[in-house]
């Protein structure tokens, strides 16, 4: 697996750190809302055996957070974008 960093070009996996599902949404209530919404955000995942959007951090490169679209069965990387750029 190689990731095409939008800033650095194609780089080996060892340069990146993984941070999981990029589709989970942090509750915007600053803690005032239901704890169920927080438990959901912190712990529950779809974990589908198909296309997955996930955060990777280019730790040994440009230090950018990226959102990678990847297939869970083939590891095929379908897209990489900077996390700052909203899809």
């Amino acid at each position: 697996m190689r990731l095409q960093c939008p800033h650095c070009g194609p780089r080996g996996l060892a340069e990146f750190t993984y941070h999981g599902d990029a589709t989970v949404q942090r509750p915007v209530d600053r803690g005032a809302g239901s704890s169920a919404a927080w438990a959901d955000y912190v712990y529950l995942r779809d974990n589908k055996a198909g296309v997955h959007q996930e955060y990777w951090y280019h730790q040994a490169g440009c230090h950018a957070w990226l959102v990678v679209t990847r297939h869970m069965r083939s590891h095929e990387v379908m897209a990489v974008r900077a996390a700052m750029v909203r899809a």
């Binding site: 996996l13 999981g20 599902d21 912190v42 995942r45 974990n47 869970m72």
Partner: protein, 416 residues
């Protein structure tokens, strides 16, 4: 047929023509009292203990592939109970005790070998952490010995004690830990369960869970509908997929874990040894291959294979601990799909769907748990209440703040 020295002798004298298949390959019946989804170690063990210890009626194990194709046939076979937290220690110790009597329980040679597990430490801080772990184990009546460098060196002389960066200062030893022939565990449980009347149905994939008013009533499969009084999910890496069939979303991510085997060499590594300054562990199989592994790859995956950076990382750990490894050739490596839970500990509990039960979250360490998992899941299904050593493995512990986080790394499955 009961296996014994006599049966081996008899077969030897008659040209080994009388051996029978170890278990019946069953055809699905329209209805069972209990259907276990997943014919890995945990599903088969559950079926065996259910049939042996409870009166629940007809039982089936439904497996999408062949027995042993899952992680039960892919793991590095290590068993131990050297945990730290109260929620885990009694459970894993029950498992180790069950391993000690397993071969008599199921009349099958699973090659249980208590060769000792040595966890190396490389700094004062790490020694303190292992001393604490050893004390926690002893407080739970579990064997643990803290060895200094001289004592360790006497038993295992061939490690790189003077490594400039990670000098080996000693080890925490659990002498009762060791290895078990992994696929023999699947075959042995399958045979013992089938003997007690359990139907083992291979090549039968569950594709749906039928519910009526919040009650699970059966499974849709590639071989037709099977009605069920109760349904137990024991599908390890496929847990999120199967749970989704019942509308459940779980605190689980699937990740890749790799393992490696070298060419066969003469007896060399008599124990299980783990490197403390990185993640690397090694043992030697009876065929002579050095069996080793390390961390999970660290990203979600259902591919049952990993990538090169992890292979490099594992081999670097091995070279730092035992430089002679560099002379051996790697002959095989493979991967499996891990059901990584959000706190690194398993779940054995009811689900919000009545008559649907969950056994999951085994991470990279579910092989050693196989017997206790079977006992506890059978207890849950038959008695509708958790077994006393599995009370902490609740599904609601995440929402309620009772996580069992051995590593203290938080809700980040790739770090457990």
């Amino acid at each position: 047929m009961r296996y014994s020295a006599l049966s081996v002798l008899k077969q030897a004298l008659t040209g080994h023509k009388g051996w029978q298949p170890a278990w019946r390959d069953a055809v699905p019946a329209p209805h069972y009292d209990v259907v276990i989804i997943g014919g890995g170690g945990h599903g088969l063990a559950t079926a065996f203990y259910l049939a042996r210890d409870y009166d629940v009626g007809r039982i089936a194990v439904v497996e999408r592939s062949w027995l042993g194709n899952g992680s039960i046939g892919r793991n590095t076979t290590i068993i131990r109970s050297n945990y730290l937290l109260p929620g885990n220690l009694p459970f894993y110790e029950l498992s180790l005790k069950l391993w000690e009597g397993l071969e008599r329980d199921i009349n099958y040679n699973a090659m249980v070998s208590q060769r000792g597990v040595y966890n190396l430490f490389h700094s004062d801080m790490q020694r303190d952490a292992y001393a604490r772990r050893g004390n926690a184990m002893r407080l739970h009546g579990i064997d643990a010995v803290l060895l200094d460098r001289a004592a360790l060196r006497k038993t295992i002389p061939y490690l790189d004690y003077e490594n400039a960066r990670f000098p080996i200062q000693g080890a925490l030893l659990q002498a009762r830990g060791g290895t078990v022939r992994h696929d023999a565990v699947a075959w042995g449980y399958a045979r013992a369960a089938a003997k007690l009347g359990v139907d083992i149905i291979q090549n039968c994939e569950v594709t749906g869970i039928r519910q009526m008013g919040g009650v699970a009533v059966g499974v849709e499969t590639s071989r037709g509908y099977i009605g069920a009084g109760k349904i137990g999910m024991a599908v390890a890496g496929a847990t999120s997929q199967v749970a989704a069939m019942a509308g459940l979303r779980l605190p689980i991510e699937s990740h890749a874990l790799q393992a490696f085997v070298s060419e066969a060499v003469k007896p060399l590594v008599d124990h299980v040894i783990t490197f403390g300054a990185g993640h690397f562990y090694i043992s030697q199989s009876d065929k002579g291959g050095l069996v080793f592994g390390g961390d999970i790859d660290g990203y979600n995956s259902y591919a049952a294979r990993g990538n090169l950076p992890t292979i490099e990382d594992v081999c670097e750990g091995g070279m730092a601990m035992m430089p002679m490894l560099g002379r051996a050739r790697l002959v095989r490596h493979w991967g499996g799909v891990m059901d990584m839970s959000m706190d690194g500990s398993p779940i054995i509990d009811k689900t919000p769907v009545t008559n649907l039960y969950l056994n999951a979250g085994w991470c990279y360490g579910g092989f050693k748990a196989t017997p206790a998992s079977g006992v506890c899941f059978a207890h849950l299904i038959a008695r509708e209440a958790p077994h006393e050593v599995a009370v902490g493995y609740r599904l609601d512990r995440f929402a309620e703040g009772w996580v069992i986080d051995e590593k203290g790394s938080g809700a980040q499955p790739n770090l457990h």
